[in-house]
Amino acid sequence: MQGKQAFYSGTNDYIASEELQNSVNVAAALGRPLLIKGEPGTGKTMLAQSISEGLGKRLLIWNIKSTTKAKDGLYVYDTVQRLYDSQFGDHDVSDISQYIKLGKLGEAFQSEQQVVLLIDEIDKADIEFPNDLLWELDIMSFDIPETGETVQARHRPIVIITSNAEKELPDAFLRRCIFHYIAFPDSPMMAEIVRVHYPDLQQKLVNQAIEAFYWIRSIGSLQKKPSTSELLDWVQALAIGGVSPDQLTGELPFLGVLLKKDRDFEHILRQLHNQGPQKKTSGAGFRRSW
């Protein structure tokens, strides 16, 4: 859209694969929304923060809930406030525009500088929600019929949309997006991620923890597999609890940080009793099972 395009290449606290960097840059250059999918805890939401930081642009977050309507993102007409004001007669209520509050998308359009707009967990909303946004995202403007005003984007925002694949997104919407699937990080990548978050931790502890973490993930029948954020919490818990790396080969302290379901917890303890991570990993490497 305008002149020189800044390039995103990850930030200090967020490791983005080259693929992901490319996707971000392509989406930004083409002015298309970037749709991010991936397992929970792969840093989908963090990505937007990192982009905003990396490109030095303001971040606007629009959290989607099951009741969110597409129009909420454009503007809300605060009729209740107007009603109050009219009761006391100390305001001029004839000017409707003072009761129009822009939503996140509206804010992004009006911003003086280009912003990064995160539409978080779009699949939480009603299944027609994405379709209702198509027009506004395409032409980057919308009307406010109450005031007859048109909000036109000054700068096309960099739109990042995350989805947990709870609902299928409509095809018409998908066609307009750039798509990126964040694969679950492999262990070297994971080590890097942990290092970025806790640079001072003992390397051996981190390695052992990661090994145990992938062992747990490789066990098929878990109800909820631990994700990156849980590993980070766990590593920290281990460090604070003063657990030594060697301890981790036979037992898994603070397991509750990793596993949130009772059944999984018992399942892992039983597995640990039977084989444990130390017996299994010889030469087998890290196997991921989806």
Binding site: E19, S23, V26, D78, E168
Partner: protein, 415 residues
């Protein structure tokens, strides 16, 4: 001048080359649209592929492929197009992928069937292996290559893959099972094109209920505040009908073996029903080929999940909307005879059709959805029983369009 010609030709060739890739992707089952293709062209013209094949690989994937479940197909198409840069995936895996994109089952005339009558399993395997060696890409609708919807479907047997018992059952069986399992897996990885469409169709069942039921007697707070606010404080009351949804639905499914090939589409409907949270009540019940004096709460249809059909009718008021889901294909005796049930250990003292009529008589609204496409109803092996059941229930093909028709039927008073 000459140089210009050359350039123009070069450009033309280049475009043409990429258009091949577009069609190749589509033939591999990656649903690429023209919009996306134009986006790719635009990004290429702006040099975003960084003049490298790897760059192009990621760029094209990000722009063209919108689901991680299609990544594998994209990879295969890419490797195929760019001269097998990578060794292809294991063959069997590939074949299963092809079978996943099934065309509707093809019907075979008795004459054609004759040709395959004498094939034994070994011969079949040998043929299949040979085919696999020669075949390099996905193929549908033909008569030679391994694919779907052709006479070659399900390991080349060429029979109607419904598992309806015709000669050569053994041949059909194994491949049908494999393909059906595969379909089910595909469904579980969220590859559900149909679910969303079913969901949308099912919504129509919601609107009906609130439209007809009850007077406007609830104060709609939000609207009242909004309208009053808009009038700057002049009170404006907005009334609405109660928001309770009165639609109650019972989905009664055939879980018999002949339904196996339709597992994919049936589970799509099942998922869509399950996700449709707008019903007041939703029951799932099962039967095997036909309903007799018992109906089951579990697809295994064992006695420990059985409830008496009369109790079922007592439990559910006539205003339940009943949707039967089954191929309605069975031996006529299963429908017309005492003790005609497919399960030999099960004895029914009244013929199945009597039970079906009883159920149809109890409920105000009932329809039958059949996964066999309607145009085959008078030609399949089960045509006799299909026509009998059609006299009892209005029957619709299990497709998005027909589901909408069925829902219309469910909201109207029955004949």
């Amino acid at each position: 001048m000459k140089e210009m010609d050359g350039k123009a030709r070069y450009r033309k060739e280049k475009t043409a080359m990429f258009i091949d890739f577009f069609y190749l992707l589509r033939s591999y089952g990656v649903p690429v649209s023209i919009t996306e293709w134009m986006t790719l062209t635009e990004s290429l013209s702006r040099g975003m592929a960084q003049s490298s094949l790897t760059g192009f690989y990621y760029l094209a994937r990000a722009v063209l492929v919108k689901s991680e479940t299609h990544f594998d197909r994209y990879d295969m198409a890419f490797a195929h197009y760019f001269n097998d840069i990578e060794t292809p995936v294991e063959l069997t895996e590939k074949v299963l992928q092809w079978l996943e994109n099934a065309l509707p089952p093809r019907q075979i005339s008795p004459g054609e069937r004759q040709q395959f009558q004498n094939w034994d399993l070994d011969e079949l395997r040998r043929q299949l292996e040979q085919r696999l060696e020669e075949q390099t890409e996905e193929h549908h609708g033909g008569d030679t290559w391994v694919g779907t919807g052709g006479t070659s479907r399900f390991g080349h047997s060429g029979y109607h893959p419904a598992g309806i018992r015709i000669d050569g059952e053994g041949i059909n069986q194994s491949a049908v099972q494999v393909a059906a399992q595969r379909n089910f897996q595909g469904f579980r990885t969220d590859r559900t094109i149909g679910v969303r469409q079913f969901e949308i169709a099912l919504r129509k069942l919601r609107q009906l209920s609130s439209k007809y039921e009850g007077p406007r007697e609830e104060l709609e707070m939000d609207e009242t505040i909004k309208k009053t606010g808009e009038k700057a404080g002049l009170l404006h009351l907005v009334w609405t009908r109660g928001r309770k949804n009165l639609v109650k639905v019972a989905l009664v499914m055939d879980s018999g073996g002949s339904m196996l090939p339709y597992m994919n589409i049936c589970s799509q409907l099942f998922t869509a029903m399950n996700r449709s949270s707008h019903f007041k009540d939703l029951r799932f019940l099962y039967f095997h080929n036909c309903v007799y004096q018992h109906i089951y709460t579990d697809p295994s249809c064992r006695m420990d999940s059985a409830i008496k059909t009369v109790d079922f009718l007592r439990m559910l008021e006539p205003d339940y909307k009943v949707i039967f889901l089954g191929d309605a294909s069975m031996a006529p005796s299963e429908l017309t005879m005492v003790d005609g049930s497919i399960d030999w250990s099960y004895s029914n003292d009244e013929p199945g059709i009597t039970w079906l009529k009883r159920i149809a008589g109890h409920f105000d609204h009932a329809v039958w959805l059949n996964p066999i496409p309607a145009k085959f109803w008078d030609r399949t092996t089960g045509s006799y029983t299909i026509s009998m059941i059609r006299q009892v229930f209005p029957m619709y093909e299990l497709s998005v369009e027909d589901l909408e028709e069925a829902i219309k039927k469910l909201k109207a008073r029955r004949w």
